[in-house]
Symmetry: C2
Subunit: 621 residues, 2 copies
């Protein structure tokens, strides 16, 4: 995709209302300013989605974007972002997915797809080798994801067709419906599946045979080889247990969200741990395109209570904790079943699990009754109740119809103070990282433009005196470790820099887990594009995109009063190693003010004109 | 200088009052935070010089500092910084010098020397292979620099002794006296020679035979070889004419300061140009340590009017313009003579020339008379008068005693509105770059913590649509050229980023002229230290040091009201291509406010606490 004019890419634009399909080729400067991925999400939302747009209306944009390194034969280059105005938060919606779909999009000749409008009836988009067309999807509507993928592959006689799609949850506008690709990978958060459903777009099926032109093939292939050669010494735990390995370690530190964050230590952790999974239901490992890490799980359960097919992969750490410990559930088969259902129906496992945990606490406190649940004793630890609720939410049946709105909206409807049980920020449920353990991450939850989010955040425990993360950080000029509970201005800097870097990665569409250091990622970008890229330039792209996401939220009416945490995090967990630790609210407030000022936002958290100018974002003001 | 603990260096501390000489070895983190050079100047001034210290009193610190790359066999690694509280500005004093002295200091086992106190009588410091001692310098006091160097080399029987020293101008506390090393290289600006004189420190003679331990010898030697192999294709004009090549080009653009900046086009430019010098008095080229560029001139004049020895090198562009066009002088031999005298007496050629130009304008306007000058018709174009005044200033004879105070103080004493002829910022005379041509540089003059300065500034003409500088800039994320006259927020960003980079280079003690790009300088630092250095880290060191310099000025009572330009720059030059161009004061004021906000300073230009925290400078507040 590089030639003498620099990086050349093509963006596909699909107007579902009119059926018009066009392409555009922004110049090299555009790619250097925004890269792709979340950068493109931010750009197209700000440029094209009208202020105040209904997230589920035709004027919302739905952006699928790979990055300048996507599709290279280097581990970590198999990702893409999806974004839209979020039906869950009303603000910036953005999520990343792995798998094979993003690289296939590049092979098909496109960097990104911008979707707008609304089709009159169900359609799917077929993208093949530089061409794109809309096709009727009446026969696919209502189908689970595996069925849809099979039908599409059969229809086109192409078992290599890569499909990003919604399941029934997206069709039914569950506010945390996700977009599933390759059956087991998801752009999970912020409700993008509902946006896709609102547009009557069932799927995007992609196939391409383009070879990517790379500026420095040797640089790229050397990095790919280096990673293959070193993956087992650098990332063996990720291969061995994937993200599920976090269960044991976090629980030991008192950082495993349990029973709707009432506590952070789960007595049943050993039953749902990465070791337990590896030693019981694990039957394989998936990778993303060209990645030797193979961190993704494949599980199979053959009864007696649950049957889980390996087609849908297996649960990540987030899923295990959300459907498991956070619901008090220590039944790994039930968790695997819940995970399978979420993938089949197309639903974010984090928000699904967290919303069920919320409902369980309401039930235990009498705010919901068995009248509401149809008889189910929806108490913590009820594995069957958890699985039942996943199903009901996806189908919007019974109590599921209320919970499909997410915990924040459901709490408002339930009333009676139910809001104190809704563990969300800006309407998005907190992921499975305990902010009382990782307090910089707690600040990150409050500040994240997508609501509580762990994907552009600081995982403090890696940067303590015992953590492994500091060596790479030195390239950012940060040489001193800090306690995980620290909320000093120095921690704010750590969060700020790391969050910028995460936004950079999400705009490159590069993986957070693959063990390339900053210098190697810089080399990768240079090799791919021929740019004289530097870590400065890359960090400034992260800064730019982070600021654009903030600006979008300000534009949509979110304010500093939305940069807050649930009160629960200001009191200690009920048990476990963290039982005397909570976030000091005054310190959090001070840290938030420091963050605003440090990054060039005003006292209310609005990016100052000078900050916009520094980032060449004058066009926003 | 690297081992398993990272970068290990030794700093020499000399208390002239007590005669105590000690050493200290700050750890790797310290070097990563401040690098060396100007970073060390800023650090030791802020840590140790008491607020309100008399620049010419014993409590002032005088810091000589090389950097982590100094002494490597790569062109550009032969530099060092000198700094102190400036007797010219009352604020941050800092200047860089090339030559061989800085690398010799490294070979002698030291990164830096921090001098304080005041010796009872003239002394010199002898530094040899890890040892240092103070010696009597009574026999050297009053001597010109060449004599002093010869006496010291003879005394120690070592023709390889490298000497940094003051001449009679420094002894007499001329406020813009400089520190000369290797006879023709100077830490020229901000009056550091007067600080050295006030301490009765005549010279620092250095000799070392240490080999530098480097983390990655091959990385370093490859860069050295690459530079040698490519120097003639990348830097031939610098070899051919040195900085003097600027005379012709700048004059053509209307950017050659002429007759005290009354105009910016000099009708006599061809007579004093780089070409003229090359074709007449040039007899050789000097380099700094290990540098293949060889940009320094060696000239010789054998009458009839002037005799100039090649011992003192030859005039740089700044000298040619300051003693030449700015004084209306088109006599190259006279300029060479003035240059030689400045090197022999140890005096900054820029401030010397600019102060004489100021006096000439006062004379032409009747504010000074031949009674003041002892009969000399001190008019523009009077070459002999210029040479005479250089001599008189250095000796503080007659009018020279007044002009030795610098143009700003002299103007206040002369009264009668003479201040309108003093082309200074914060007391330091503007160097020979026309701010009405390069308006970003004009803003840089106003903002520079050292007063008008071209060494951490933006030379706008390189970044216009016709300029050659943009390719490297892209690594900073700046892809669009801007007109030289632009003062928009985008230009402020350009100045801000480039100034940060210049502060980085001055803290590395790396040369601004050697054609390594950002990536190569990053490699050089990595190779030298073993750090996983990045352009981000390096730019943040520049940011840190720039902010420290600003903080020092705030501490010493300088305010936003000092961030101003002489009124002359708000009206067009009297003639030439720029005759209809001036700086719009309202735009300059707006750009200054933008700069404050963009870099995290408050409305008055004081760095905000959050900015200090971001740079790990909390210890300042």
């Amino acid at each position: 995709m590089t030639n003498s004019a620099g990086y050349v890419g093509t963006i596909l634009r699909v107007d579902l209302s009119s059926g018009a399909i066009t392409t555009e080729q922004p110049g090299d400067d555009f790619y250097r300013a925004y890269f792709g991925g979340s950068g493109f999400v931010a750009y197209f939302l700000l440029k094209e989605a009208p202020p105040g747009a209904d997230p589920l209306g035709p004027e919302n944009r739905l952006v699928f974007a790979s990055g300048p390194i996507t599709g290279l034969a280097v581990g970590g280059c198999g990702r893409h972002s999806v974004g839209a105005k979020s039906p869950l938060t009303g603000g910036f919606g953005d999520s990343q997915s792995g798998g094979y779909w993003g690289s296939e999009l590049k092979f098909a000749g496109f960097d990104a797809i911008v979707v707008h409008g609304r089709a009159a009836g169900p359609v799917y988009l077929l993208v093949q080798d530089g061409k794109a067309e809309l096709r009727d999807a009446g026969h696919l509507w209502g189908k689970a994801t595996a069925e849809t993928q099979k039908l599409l592959r059969d229809e086109h006689g192409d078992p290599g067709l890569r499909v990003a799609q919604i399941g029934p949850a997206g069709e039914r506008l569950v506010r945390y419906a996700c977009i599933i690709n390759d059956l087991h990978d998801a752009a999970g958060r912020t409700g993008l599946g509902a946006v896709m459903g609102s547009k009557n777009l069932k799927a995007i099926a992609v196939r391409g045979r383009n070879r990517l032109a790379v500026a420095e093939p040797k640089t790229v292939s050397d990095l790919g080889r280096w990673l293959r050669d070193n993956v087992m010494s650098l990332a063996k735990p990720m291969y061995d247990q994937g993200t599920s390995r976090l269960v044991t370690g976090l629980n030991k530190s008192g950082g495993l969200p349990t029973r709707n964050f009432q506590t952070s230590y789960f007595e049943g952790a050993a039953k749902i741990s990465g070791e337990a999974m590896r030693n019981s239901i694990l039957v394989g490992r998936h990778s993303c395109y060209a990645c030797p890490v193979r961190c993704k799980r494949v599980v199979e359960v053959k009864g007696p209570t649950y049957h889980v097919s390996p087609d849908y992969g297996g649960p990540e750490y987030e899923t295990i904790a959300a459907l498991g410990s956070d619901c008090g559930v220590d039944d790994l088969a039930a968790i695997a079943k819940g995970s399978e259902l979420c993938n089949a129906y197309g639903m974010d496992t984090i928000s699904a699990g967290a919303t069920i945990a919320f409902a369980m606490e309401c039930f235990e406190n009498g705010l919901l009754t068995d009248g509401d649940t149809g008889g189910t004793q929806l108490r913590f630890g009820n594995a069957a109740g958890m699985v039942e609720m996943v199903e009901k939410i996806a189908q919007r049946k019974g109590l599921g119809n209320l919970l499909a709105e997410g915990s924040a909206r459901a709490a408002r409807k339930i009333g009676q103070g139910a809001e104190r049980f809704a563990m969300h920020v800006k309407g998005q449920e907190a992921p499975m990282h305990e902010p009382r353990l990782k307090q910089g991450l707690g600040l990150g939850y409050a500040l994240s433009p997508t609501g509580a989010d762990h994907c552009h955040n600081l995982h403090d425990i890696y940067y303590t005196s015992k953590g492994p993360g500091l060596e790479n950080f030195k390239a950012l000029g940060i040489t001193q470790p800090l306690p995980a509970s620290d909320l000093s201005p120095a921690k704010v800097r750590m969060l700020l820099y790391n969050s910028q870097w995460m936004w950079t990665l999400n705009s490159l569409a590069y993986c957070l887990f693959v063990p390339l250091n900053y210098g190697q990622v810089t080399e990768l970008l240079r090799g791919a594009t021929g740019w004289n890229a530097s870590l400065w330039e890359m960090m400034k792209v992260g800064d730019r995109v982070r600021t654009m996401a903030r600006w979008f939220n300000v534009r949509e009416g979110l304010a500093d009063s939305d940069d807050v945490l649930p009160d629960r995090f200001f009191t200690p967990p009920a048990s476990g190693p963290l039982a005397s630790t909570s976030i000091d609210k005054a310190k959090l407030d001070a840290a938030r003010a420091t963050y605003y000022a440090m990054t060039g936002w005003d006292d209310k958290g609005k990016p100052r004109p000078e900050k916009l100018a520094e980032l060449a974002l004058d066009w926003l003001a």
